[in-house]
Every structure is written in C-alpha cells, then in structure tokens.
Symmetry: C3
Amino acid sequence: MHPSAQSPEAGPAGLVDHHCHGVVRRDLDRTGFELLLTEAGPLGPASGSVFDSQIGFAVRRWCAPLLDLEPHAAPDDYLARRAELGHAAVTARFLRAAGLSALCVDTGFEPEPLLSPRRLGEEAGAAAYEIVRLEHVAEQTAPGATAAGFADAVRARLAEHARTAVGFKSIAAYRHGLALAPERPSAAQVSAAAGRWLARESGRGDVDGRVPRLSDETLHRFLVWCAVDLALPVQFHVGYGDADVNLDRCDPLLLTPLLRAIEPTGVPVLLLHNYPFHRHAGFLAQVFSNVFLDVGLATHNLGRASRTLVAEALELAPFGKFLYSSDAFGLPELYYLGAALFRRALAAFLDAGVEDDAWSAADAARVARLIASQNAHRVYRLEPQRLAAR
Amino acid sequence: MHPSAQSPEAGPAGLVDHHCHGVVRRDLDRTGFELLLTEAGPLGPASGSVFDSQIGFAVRRWCAPLLDLEPHAAPDDYLARRAELGHAAVTARFLRAAGLSALCVDTGFEPEPLLSPRRLGEEAGAAAYEIVRLEHVAEQTAPGATAAGFADAVRARLAEHARTAVGFKSIAAYRHGLALAPERPSAAQVSAAAGRWLARESGRGDVDGRVPRLSDETLHRFLVWCAVDLALPVQFHVGYGDADVNLDRCDPLLLTPLLRAIEPTGVPVLLLHNYPFHRHAGFLAQVFSNVFLDVGLATHNLGRASRTLVAEALELAPFGKFLYSSDAFGLPELYYLGAALFRRALAAFLDAGVEDDAWSAADAARVARLIASQNAHRVYRLEPQRLAAR
Amino acid sequence: MHPSAQSPEAGPAGLVDHHCHGVVRRDLDRTGFELLLTEAGPLGPASGSVFDSQIGFAVRRWCAPLLDLEPHAAPDDYLARRAELGHAAVTARFLRAAGLSALCVDTGFEPEPLLSPRRLGEEAGAAAYEIVRLEHVAEQTAPGATAAGFADAVRARLAEHARTAVGFKSIAAYRHGLALAPERPSAAQVSAAAGRWLARESGRGDVDGRVPRLSDETLHRFLVWCAVDLALPVQFHVGYGDADVNLDRCDPLLLTPLLRAIEPTGVPVLLLHNYPFHRHAGFLAQVFSNVFLDVGLATHNLGRASRTLVAEALELAPFGKFLYSSDAFGLPELYYLGAALFRRALAAFLDAGVEDDAWSAADAARVARLIASQNAHRVYRLEPQRLAAR
C-alpha cells in the first residue's frame, strides 16, 4: 500500500458496521463503477462526471493509496489500476483496511450475486451477523399464500429468522413512506390488506420472474409489530436513498406516533442514514429511550463534509444512542471509505471539544468507544451463536 | 466558587431571559435530576446516561465550578456536592451567576410547586415579569362555563391578566400543532367549539383532579386573537419539546398564514425555541415586521454545539429580531447554563465577523446589546408597574 | 474606488449569473432602498433597521468601497453618497465590478421600469440572455383567449420565445406551491382549467389594470410541460422568497414526482434559491441526471454566512450540477454583492479542502471554473444568436 493510506489505528479501532450489504463479485467498467458509487441512476449528457463530487474526490484521496496509487489519482488511472488488480484483490484490500470488528449485513437486497455475510466477515477479519429485511420475507411468503394464512406464515418465517439474525429492517420508507399509524393492525385488517396485495400481485411473479412488491401501509406496520414481538432490534431506512425514494415521505418525524407506541416494549429502534433529517433523528433519539440513529450512506457520499454531518447528528442525540454504519453496497471501497471518513469526523468532533476544554480527553476517548462499538454491542447483543451461517 | 467558573462579565451582561419557568423546590436524586435535565421521558435499559450528551458534558464543564468542583467533575461527584449544598443554596448560586437583568416567567405550567416569578427575580437579582399561558387561562375558565358564555369569560380573564403581565403564550404546538387557520373565528364558531370541548371534558376534572385539556384548533386560534386584541406580545412554542410533541406539526412555517393576518396589527409575535426549524423562523423574522425569535431550550441542550445554532438562526433574522431565552424549567442549572452558552455562542458569532473584517468591533458590540436586552425591552416594554406581584 | 474594494480577479473570474432581474431606474430614499434590500415588506415600528442584519453589514463592508467610502460606512453616509452619485453612476459601478461574463435575465417581473437585459449586459460588460417566465406569458395570453384556444395560443407564444430565449422559468412555488402532479395534463384538463381561470379573472384586468393572476395547479403543470417540449432549460423558483410565499409549499422535494417524469426527456431543470432547503436540492441534483441548483438570493441575504450555505449545497450536489446566480432585483448592489460573496464562499469551500489535502489545488481550480461558468454554458448553450435583442 501507498504510505499515505490511512491505517485503521487512526481513531477508534474495531468499528462495528451495524448496517451494510454485500459486495458485487465482478470487475466493473467506468459506467458500472459510477453507477455503484452514488445514489444516482443512469447518467445523462448533462450529468458531468460522478467523480466530480465530494464522494468522487474522497475515493481519489482515500481509496487510491490502498491500490498503491498517489492520493488524488485521476479517475482513469484509478479504474485502470482497479481492473489490473481484479475485483477479488480489490475487495480484500478495502475490507481488511476498514478496520472493522463486526458487520451486520442486510441480506434482503441482492439484485445480483453478492459476497455473503460470512465471506464479507472473512475478508474484513470481522464477526459477521445477519439483518433480515421484513418486506423481503413477506414477499417470499406471498407466492401460494392465502389472505387468511398470510399473517401466520410470515410470523413463522420471521420467528425462524429471529433464532439467528441480530435484527430486522423495514423499508417502508421506500414504498409507502414513514407515515405509519401507531396501532398494531388487527388480524382482520392484516388479512384484508394481504388479500388485496396478493390479488394485485398474483401472476406477476410468473410473468417476469420478479417477486411481488409490498407497499401497503397496513402490511408494513404489521411487519414492524411482528419484529417488535420477536424482541429483536428494528432498523428503519430513513431519509437519503436513490431516485426511487420520495424523500419528503422519509422524514423520521413521521414515525413519531409509532415510536411512541413501541417505546414501552423497550425494543430498540434504529434510524438509518437520516440525512438530511439527521437533526430530527437526533431529537427522537433524545426523547425516546429506545431510539438510536446513524448517518450511514450519507457519511461516504458527503466525503469531507461528513464532519458537519456527524456534528449535527450529535447536537441532541445522546452519545449512547449513536452508532456507526456504512450502508455500503456493491463497491468494496465504500466499506473502507465510510469507516475512514467516520473515524475522521468523529475524531474531529471529539478533538474540537477537548481543544476548547468543553470536555476532557478521557471523556472523549470513552465516547469514541461507545460510538465505535459499545453501543452496537449493547443494542444487538452480538454473540458467537448468532454469527452468520452462510 | 471555583476559579474556572465563568463570570457574568464575559460577553453582554444583563441578559433579559424573555421566556423561562420556575425552579423545583426540593432536593433531587440522580433519576430526578436526569429527568429534568433533558426533554427525555423515563430512561430505559438501553438509554445510557443522560450525562453522556452535549448537555451533560456542558453541565459538568460549566456548572461544576459553581458548586466548587473542578470542571468536568464526574456525575456522581456533581450530584453528591449538589445534595450536600441543598436545593436552596444551589438555586441561589446558579440564578445569581446567570447575570440576568430581567426574567419573563411563564406561570402556566406548574406540575409541582415552583419558585414564583418574584422569588426567581430576587434570587437572580433581576426584575421579574409574568407571561400568561393562554390555554391555561382557558382551562381554568372551563369549570362551570357554558358554551355561550365561554368566550366572554375568557376575554375577561385575559384582560385582567393584561393589566400586569408582559405577554401571552400559546402552546397550540403541543396540542393541535401550528397549522392554525388565519381567520379570527366568529362568535358562533367559538361557542360551538367551546360546547364540544366542555361536553367532552365535563366531569374529568372531578374524577382525577386534572384540569380539562384544550386541544381544539378553533379555540387555540381564538385565544391567539384575544391576545392580539389586548395588544400584548404573543409567544408561540415552536419546534423542540419533549416526547409529547409531534415535532413535524411544529414547524413555524405552518404559522405563515396566521402571521400574515396578524402583521397589520403590529402586535409582536415571538417564536420560541424553533430548533431544528430555526432557519425557518429566521426567514419569518425577516419577512414579517412583527415576528421575533429565540433559540431557547435548544441552547442548553446543544451544549457546545449551540454556536452553530445561534449562527444559523442569524443567517436571515435581522439582529433587531433575535432575543435570548433559556426556557429553563426545574433545574436552576439551566438558567445559568443557557445564559453562559448563549453568551459564548453570540460572542463567537460576533467575534468571527470582526476577525475577518465582515463588520466592525463597534457594530458587534452594538448588536450584542440589542440581542442581550434591548430587543426584549423594545418588544415587551418592561416597566416597573408590570413587575410580577407574587 | 476605495482601495479595499474587492477586485473581480479574486476567485473565479467571469461568473455567469444564470438568473437575475433588472435594475430600477431611479434614485432611492432610505425606505426605498431598505425595501429593495431584503425580502421584507413594509417595516413596522418594531422592525428595527434592515441594515442591522447579515445583508446590511455585507453592503456596508463590500459595497461602500465601490462608492469611495471606507468599509463599514454608516448607513446614512452610504445612502448620502449613493444619492450624490445618482442611480446611473451607481449602477454602472456595481455592474461592472461584479465581474460577470454573462447574465440570464428573467424579464417576467417588472412592477416598474427596469434596465433591459441588453442594457444590463452593456453596463456589466457581459453577454445578456433572456429567461422567459411561463406564467407571465400565460397571463399575457389570457385577455381575449377562450378556454378551448388557450393551450394552443400559449404554446405558440412560448415557441416564439424559444427562438431567442435561453430558458423558461416557473413560479408555481409562489402561487400553488411545488406539489405539482407529474402527469402531462390532457387537452381537456387544460381547457377546463383555463375556462375556470378565465371566467374568474375576466373583468379584473379592466377594473384595476392588473394582469390576471394564474395560480392553478393544472395550468402551472401545463406550462412546465410546454417548456419541456420546447427543449429549453426550465428554472423553478424554490424556497426563499418574500412574505407572499408560503415557504412550506416550496420544498424542492415536493417536485420529486415531476422531476422523475421529466428526467427521460433530458431537459435540464434548474432549482433556484432553495434556501433553507438547499440540502434537499443537492440530493435531487445527485439522483436526477438533469437537475441543477443554485443558492441565489440567499447568498447575498446571508452575507458572511453564505459560506455555510455554499458548503451545505455542495454536500451531495455533484460539482457539475451547481451554478451561480444572484437573483438580483432592483438594486445594482445585489449583482455585485452576490458575485463577491459567492466568489468568497466558493473559494473558502475549495481552499479548505486543499488545505487539509482532501483534494488537489488543480482539482479545486477546475471545479471553480465548472461552477463559475462552464456548467451554465453547458446547460444553456449560450450562443451569440441568442443574445437579448432589447
């Protein structure tokens, strides 16, 4: 590696990445790389280069040295060197350099074959755990299900997953938005909603091979309550995503009534990403005892500006409620870049307070450990018997 | 006091705290202290310590020296010393050290016996005035009132208060939200709304001793217009509050039509707290000649990060439209901490501009005086005959 | 000029101001000047001075030297010197000093006689182009139009404008808000909406000489699709404006479905102003290949704080998607002040990254050129044959 590569020793070591996905198992041309680099869809003639952005500059600064290049290497040089090494070697370098102690992998989005959680963990030298996507389980249950039998079938599958997974995840934000009613839906309501959904989706899977797509408010809510009943932490996609998301429906404040209803159960709720609503998420993390947050996905997309992001998220959020995630998907660079930028942003936040005597160096070090890994361990109860099997 | 305690001389002296509450008159154990420290409700097993947060670190840094401890004293040491001194001595120290010239006290929320405005003023060495909570007056009027007589009875009580109070306050944000129609409701509309409310609430007060709870849009609006007719400044709770608040309904932009309707009367409207919508409030303060704002409550909760908060609020808000408040409730620390952090944040904002020659030192000093006290004196016309009687 | 006047050489020269208006052609007293300085309406007794604000301090710092005064000159001295020079000389000084290479002038708002695009260009030493306001064209078409003929009449006028203008602009935000449905309205829908509007507006123009005011969702949407069909860039007013705007309806996220529908056409969409939703606009610019943004109007209103604004807008927005505009109207100071503050903010953003080695000096210089002018040239295809004729 180039001598300017950041060593994982800088900042809190052994980050727990509590929400990420898998790595693609193929070499990528420039278009393929750019499409996985940001949340943009296909590039148009007016788009300019994705490399000309905070994340593009961050890749050139922080990732290039891991491929033996000078910092700020030109995009073409970067991609050429990447192709030369091949995807397997590139993956190995970035995952190892991320300096992770554990990963929690959402296995519910796999548009192409990805590295499995266990293999990700091996490459990263970290313990790997699985997060189960609620809507994915429901969609897998749909074929052949009846309206009346749907709820029990889903519950049984989720209970099975709960034996090994460390958490569930809702993507209601992407489908209906986060304006979910707080009430646990009745059996009759779930059966009626399932009936409508199954009738609409029947045959579609047969025609184009795609799984039926769940986007019903009652069913999203039913799934969340199933997860709460199984007493595993529940992650919510919040805020920032790709062009499919209607971001105005993804403000975490829309979850307030549901969070209020879940709080008495004590089941942890984790608000993921949150940008540009990260201050809203910080408020919720302060006032609800079971609410946690991160700024994953936004951290690497904001590049150098991730310092402001972390500082703003920590305005109201108690330090015991803030976690690290990359939300990396596809590119191995993102596991490393997320971790490197997060370490820098957190260190900048903590050091600035020590610098002007707002808190002590000892407190800063303790908070770094909480946020880097201890909060995640407390929330997810990461134990050897829950390590991902595949 | 410890030598590192901040003296009130640092920054603009004689702050007017234009919105605060009373201090609890009892000693507090750790749970009692933590519950009053932030807007969080009861702590759960996953909560971690409230002390591990911006406000917790700020208490240890800035309040500990006032209790003769080293800065950054451990929470247990802080609470032990606090208990040793007793609540009366602690209250005396913090209120005096806040360096206030006047306080405007909202007397409409008193879940337990609190220090009265007059006593607060004595402890602080400051003039004390009263702010009357509109909904509290309406709720006091309800028992025995008729639908037809409600409006006149409320108006009479408010007119009585207007002889001594310096302002009114609406908590519509906490109940209905800030989406209030702009029109002055008709007599028939008020009487109908009062009838519905009184019918729903009748007996409740008898059963559990609680006052009936007003949350009707027409009645909130009626109260605001009563206050406007009495030509006293009207404060609105906006944004940040506790877990009871649905923050998405508390964006000050929702008040736009009502503010537009009130503007021709010239009656000052004061948007309180505002976080995380403080930029929205700054916009309203720029475009409406009678709108003012503060960042109370958020200032002490954000601790060191309150510098960013003040700077953002002052992006658009004219310097003649920004005021100081603590929104302190319960803990005497909060009167001091709010003032100390506000002084620091305002000084940082003004000094940075002088530093890079964006404005002159003389202008900075003049703006500091406007914001620290002159704006409040202009808005509230604070006069000796309005000093709080009790 | 005073030696402390900023020379246009500082920072990227030859800015393209891709959205501005005309300059008033008269001398101004203090009230007249203050009313044009910010987005505030008439000042009330409680308002304080508009000069006591970020923009007021910025005028005194940056504009005073252009009138041969010391930086931070007192407002009265500033206005006296301005009157002494006369509006024509003042206009000449500020427009020339702005250091522009091109201006795109929205000619659809002219409440009093303004300097024409061609004359603005002559004063600025810059190429001048015209932006045509969609609603203005529709309102000009209304008198005498029939419901059935309205669509074709508007289309014909817009096609005529498209021969010379470089872009269109929608002010739906000011009228209906940005919650526009994505679908292209049918001929029947447009004719029905036009019929309702024309019936409501008929006679009004006769009575008070005002043009009929369009504020119908279907018609705003129809106009946008007409512009898209003509394949010229479409500007949208977004966010920050005067007291007439309901800012909560001007969040650019409300445009998401419409942006998604326009994207396949490849027609550039430019989100103007955006404050305080500039992060939302940055997100849209990242995920939609044809979406661009600026922070005009806010830049000069925020004064020194415009540094934060530019930095936040560039968190997610690709550097190829960010443009400069002043949105200056009325006062010649605003063309200069917007440019001077933007140069400083962009330089601060880029220099800070070079300083901590987040990107190279060469990349910073390249990005400065993109944002200062190259992005605008690419989007608008500014060509000699499209220079403003009047």
